[in-house]
Symmetry: C2
Subunit: 323 residues, 2 copies
């Protein structure tokens, strides 16, 4: 725990020293606004913890970690335009606070800055190549996510592939980059990548569950937001799978707009249906499988167990399992 | 001339072999649509000619050249959204043919692909670093260009800085990258960079002139487009500089919308004013200075003159001076 705290503080201090206030301000202000918001720095932390686990130096991982954070923020700035999302982490999104053109251009510049940070390490080619691969996958994931909105049938494998690309691969790559700059061998890089992938899938399923079963105070989002927006999350897809023909047509009707209810009644009715079908339990079981898969991958890394304790603890913290 | 033709054909053949038809199609189709349109491949050609001049191998320059072309097309896809431009090279722009979200996302993916191509050479770190620098400059140039639309006073030095960033640096960097992959020394890289910078400035001023003095059949654009859109080009800024107070207020009135005329009358009146003030001659003289500056930089490269003949000839071709 102390190690986690210490890395977080060191990284925050490092980020505070990076100059985001460049000229022209109009271009760089939205980047500083987004990147410098307080947050848990999930991707940098995974990178730094992976590097530390293999005995790597903080100073070799700090810029790649910043590259990951900046690249992640680039995707948020552009996704929020595409999704027309007014708020992010409780603050106005860039396209709302400024405008769409500014969000496009500042997002672009953020992506280029990420590549600039990515080269500032002793293994620049590997880091840039991993960034190329993961960013293209994230674009593909966002494409599938957009396609799903107008696609009447989405299968569970299609959904899992979408969240793999849109969310999980960046966590996996963050860990792999940490391993690369610490000179871990390729097999261990792969174990860590797969650990991150499974973790990312589990987190996303957890998010899908929490949208239906959590309160705003804890989760920071309105319960049922996915339902109101007709998002085809795992909760919805699993419910369709488990439903009787009559229940299926009711659920599809509610999500397609064929059956119109006021938002709160719609949420209540959908969740009642999920309860009847034990959807929460089914998705939780899938999530548990992914957490287990993650554990197996971390176990496989060829290091003594005491080197893995911080990363394992960090993952437990994030999954809420330490409570 | 044969050398130029030959490099162009080799590059076109190489590009035809690159796979742009990836999955999901929705993401990659707009990229293929944009990048694979026939064109003069200005940036790749500058890169290839520079590489060839220093005795470098085509296969070391072809991917960096493709990276430059792809990065350029990324800027076009996003700029066309920001400028709401319906047509580009006589065809529908991506955001018009598809939609804004698709143009944002496919543009992003094009940028990542450019970085992927940039690493496929024996000097990946230098090429990626040069790409980082130039792409950030292009974003800055686009920012200034957007700012100018609402800025009442734009000075000539501000305008020159904007076109340097938005247009000239990419030509300069294309040449430098060609020199880098051919292992030219840093001094020669700098001479070539400065050659490209001056050339880029000259071309932009040429464009500004041609918007007022050319016919559609030759230039492919409507004459007077910049005037109709109130673009503060060098023609306009130079006219303001040379104008009497009375002429200045008339010109500002026409460009600010304070004086309203139908488009053709506005064009005619503005060009009549330019003629009175000999603006064309003034801007031509500035353009000639840049062409001269370019010549001096190319002369300075430490190579025998017969190595420079193709690049010099190519620049002459582009400037229309060989006619």
């Amino acid at each position: 725990m102390e190690k986690i705290q210490q890395l977080k503080e060191r990284f925050d201090a490092f980020m505070n020293g990076v100059d985001f206030n460049r000229v022209p301000n109009a271009l760089y202000d939205p980047i500083a606004y987004t990147v410098l918001q307080k947050g848990k720095r999930l991707r940098p932390m995974l990178c730094l913890l992976a590097c530390d686990m293999f005995g790597g130096e903080f100073h070799e991982a700090k810029y790649p970690a910043l590259a990951l954070e900046t690249a992640h923020n680039f995707t948020l700035i552009h996704d929020d335009i595409m999704d027309q999302a007014p708020l992010r982490r409780g603050k106005e999104t860039v396209y709302k606070k400024w405008n769409t053109n500014q969000a496009i251009l500042s997002g672009d510049a953020a992506l280029v800055m990420a590549y600039d940070f990515a080269t500032r390490t002793h293994r620049p080619v590997e880091v840039v190549s991993l960034l190329n691969q993961v960013l293209l996958e994230i674009c593909e994931g966002q494409q599938y996510d957009m396609d799903f909105e107008t696609q009447t049938e989405v299968t569970i494998p299609e959904y899992l592939e979408m969240i793999r690309l849109k969310t999980a691969v960046l966590l996996a790559t963050s860990l792999q980059i940490g391993a690369v700059v610490a000179n871990a061998d390729e097999e261990d890089q792969k174990f860590l990548y797969d650990f991150g992938l499974a973790l990312g899938m589990a987190f996303q399923l957890q998010d899908d569950i929490l949208d239906c079963y959590s309160d705003v105070a804890v989760f920071g989002k309105v319960t049922g937001g996915d339902i109101v927006e007709n998002k085809k999350t795992m909760m919805y897809l699993k419910a369709l799978e488990l439903a009787s023909p009559e229940q299926r047509s009711r659920l599809s009707g509610l999500f397609s707009g064929a059956i119109v209810l006021n938002p709160q009644r719609k949420i209540d009715e959908v969740i009642a249906l999920y309860d009847e079908l034990c959807v929460k339990e089914a998705v939780e079981s899938q999530m548990t499988d992914y957490f287990h898969q993650a554990k197996v991958c971390l176990d496989a890394v060829k290091l003594p167990d005491d080197r893995k304790v911080h990363l394992r603890h960090y993952a437990d913290l994030l999954s809420g399992r330490d409570k």
